[in-house]
Symmetry: C2
Amino acid sequence: MKIALAQLNYHIGNFEVNTQKIIQSATKAQSLGAELIVFAELAVSGYPPRDFLEFDDFINRCAFAVSDIADHCKDIAVIVGTPIKNPAEKGKPLFNAAAFISNGEVQYFRKALLPNYDVFDEYRYFEPSHEFEILHFKGKKIAVTVCEDLWNIGNDPLYTINPMDELMKHQPDFMINIAASPFDYLQAKTRTAVLQKNVEKYKIPLIYVNHVGSQTELLFDGGSMSISADNQIFNQLPFFREDMQIIETDSLFTPITAIRSSIEVSETELIHDALVMGIKNYFEKLGFTKAILGLSGGIDSAVTMVLAARALGAENVLGLLMPSQFSSQHSVDDAIQLANSLGSPFKTIPIEKLYTSFENQLETEFKDLPFGIAEENIQARIRGVLLMAMSNKFGHIVLNTSNKSEAAVGYGTLYGDMNGGLSVLGDVYKTRVFELAHFINKDSEVIPSNTIAKPPSAELRPNQKDSDSLPDYDILDQILFQYIECRNGPKELIAMGFEEKIVNRVLKLVNTNEYKRHQTPPILRVTTKAFGMGRRMPIVAKYLS
Amino acid sequence: MKIALAQLNYHIGNFEVNTQKIIQSATKAQSLGAELIVFAELAVSGYPPRDFLEFDDFINRCAFAVSDIADHCKDIAVIVGTPIKNPAEKGKPLFNAAAFISNGEVQYFRKALLPNYDVFDEYRYFEPSHEFEILHFKGKKIAVTVCEDLWNIGNDPLYTINPMDELMKHQPDFMINIAASPFDYLQAKTRTAVLQKNVEKYKIPLIYVNHVGSQTELLFDGGSMSISADNQIFNQLPFFREDMQIIETDSLFTPITAIRSSIEVSETELIHDALVMGIKNYFEKLGFTKAILGLSGGIDSAVTMVLAARALGAENVLGLLMPSQFSSQHSVDDAIQLANSLGSPFKTIPIEKLYTSFENQLETEFKDLPFGIAEENIQARIRGVLLMAMSNKFGHIVLNTSNKSEAAVGYGTLYGDMNGGLSVLGDVYKTRVFELAHFINKDSEVIPSNTIAKPPSAELRPNQKDSDSLPDYDILDQILFQYIECRNGPKELIAMGFEEKIVNRVLKLVNTNEYKRHQTPPILRVTTKAFGMGRRMPIVAKYLS
């Protein structure tokens, strides 16, 4: 049987576009001889639809999309993800389902394991299924599952049941899993391992279709694939772009060494590609084309600008230089050199006079009090006002350039450099930002070498260095990784050999700066634990703080 | 049997303070003759601890708190809420439990129904219990449940089981329910109805203990109570403050008409009291005493200032007047009159010169383009910078004064008037803000009558009125209520008689302004659906937009 794997970029709530894409792919696949085409989880609505799922109108539009697909796909069968109503009186009002559409008839296979951790909220909307039916199609028995249904296979089972154990009672010929599995730089490996463990356990082939494209902070990397009965990966679809491939299921039973189509790439390259896609899709889905960012001559704004130029075209990214009395000449030079090397426009608006106006206006209140955080923040906030003024006047989206290390310890000014429509590096530790810069410069000096070589500084007072206020990034980032990604507490961190005083200081900084992170832009998620919807912390808490 | 109901204000993660409060209350109750004292759900950790629950260290500190309580409470038994580890290999790693502590021994009763809607995320952390044991104490059989366990009793059951149905098989003498039931202006009635439905169904008395006090956006109103077997409310504890009361369980079987201790109050008064508590607790729990807010002469800042003065003391609330060339004289006069009537300090920093500085600095870029949104926003953002400068210099928290109607349709400037550490009115529609003003003025003119009488205006351009850009608040607020609180879609709204054009415009405004709400301060929650953690929407979506 010829089956098409369609890896598409959907737009949440944009039923017209999603349905059209699905029907077009099905028509194409049919013309190429496919008998069945498989789309991703909740493809008709886009993933995650979040609280739109609480609106009857939204669910009705999903149902209409399914019937529209059924009307248009008479000569090819379709598997496509959609929310459906729970007809029972008790339980949550919806199921997360795979619709099997054939000859105008629709049969639903409902998700049993509902992820409800990190960025996932599926128990908020869906009732878990307790029924396990097999799909009969063209003489084959197919075990159809939805994403998480295959994931309860590791050493630390989150669920008490395992859907494939139930489905195996029907002796299926192969498995089809439709997914919405977001990217992080470890996920492609984890995902492949989980899928292969299923094939190893159940000894039948697997066809796996994922989303591609980004939805605000969530990046979907694609990487859909088939796995043969002898656990070789077949026809893996590309990462970070749409594609469709057709496989012949018989070939999945032939024990050969398959050629894996994906190339092994470094974590840093994966992150680079993911962030470029994240920026591109954010702008496209909001209908914007132009970005603006503050260009300081530092490494964070340089890397952000390169990524934005690669996503949107260099000509669409405006660098705004806003030097103050504390800006060094090399900062200005480095910023200009970067814009020129990219071929991006830049403009300069000095902030010294504006800062003096604020000083004058606040003189009565501030009197002779010494220069401090308030004055540093005024400079950052003037820059924020200027970026937003340009954005409002000319229709740019402001890109935020804060990195994860800064966001973690609150080293940034709320309503100043923490502004933006989208945070590009908010899930990238400073040490990784350096790796990204080296990766970007691997063939030629895109980012000025001086930007990479000089010690990081906010330049908000004379001779300021990040290292005046923070531990070295090498140490800081390790502690943050252990605390944020690995959820290790103070005892575990000290046992690892980190100095107690530094551990306590860093954890306190992280916890007391929750209020700042509460008000920051959405952050493109590239690790297993990003700030934002996947990390939910109380603000008034008193814990390690 | 004498049982004490302890309604306390806990602080998330502050184990030392929480444990001490619990032990002190137990000691006092024992001295008053109580044999058992009952505290709220997750009292040892505070509620909601959110992702702190993912830290082993946090869970260990909860366990330590329970053993500390056991060590100190030898002559009185205690029921107190705590997270505990799930000893099973499968399922989520924790249970949400009621610990029964007696003579140094601890027995756990685990929550079966886990709320995972609106502001609740309990499936994120906890495994639901499937075991239903009865507590034997002093010859009585007690059905101990945790909050939601009693809530599957309405017409729209979210869950497929009902814990009390199971527990009734043991023929308990009475029920004890420990809760974390947050306030909204309808919740006290809903909660009482649900509890009475349980007593009506099971025909045994109920002892119910809730949290009081606020945790960032969540306000707990208390209102703990006993309900007799003949469904009369006994000894209801007060709303919005800590208290302890002792009841004799025998009296709960005597059919008398009990005197309900709470007074029926209006929705607006409830909201008033809840907001005052919310401000007070936010400052206390973060260790701050002083607030600052922009005082425009308008009704939102006036109501916010009165609530803040009642929460923190008038002397601790600084009103900052920041008039521009577009500010009318009456706005300035009204603002000063308000500060004087409260006895609060105020200061004036005009923004005209600062605005001119920005105009000059942006002249090269803006050229002869007409005055528009960019220029309006610059004014609002200058005010934001000034408020934050004062806050940074003198240690105030900035109070945000945006109301729910504005937040809904995006009528506000990000990084300008949308700034603040806490949004006081972000869950209060404009029409309700007027009701709050009238309530505040019921005995004397605290808020200048002119502030209430004049048409709302942002005063960011000559003769601007809110009604230039928005439908009348009477209509707008009704549409917003139906869309946000009731989740009615366009069809339902039009069927209710709202004009199609206005409905589509308002819904589009709400949906396209999600990006602004993503970056706003935490909002004190007073309705069944507040912006923030209880309403989760995608930003890049294209739905009704």
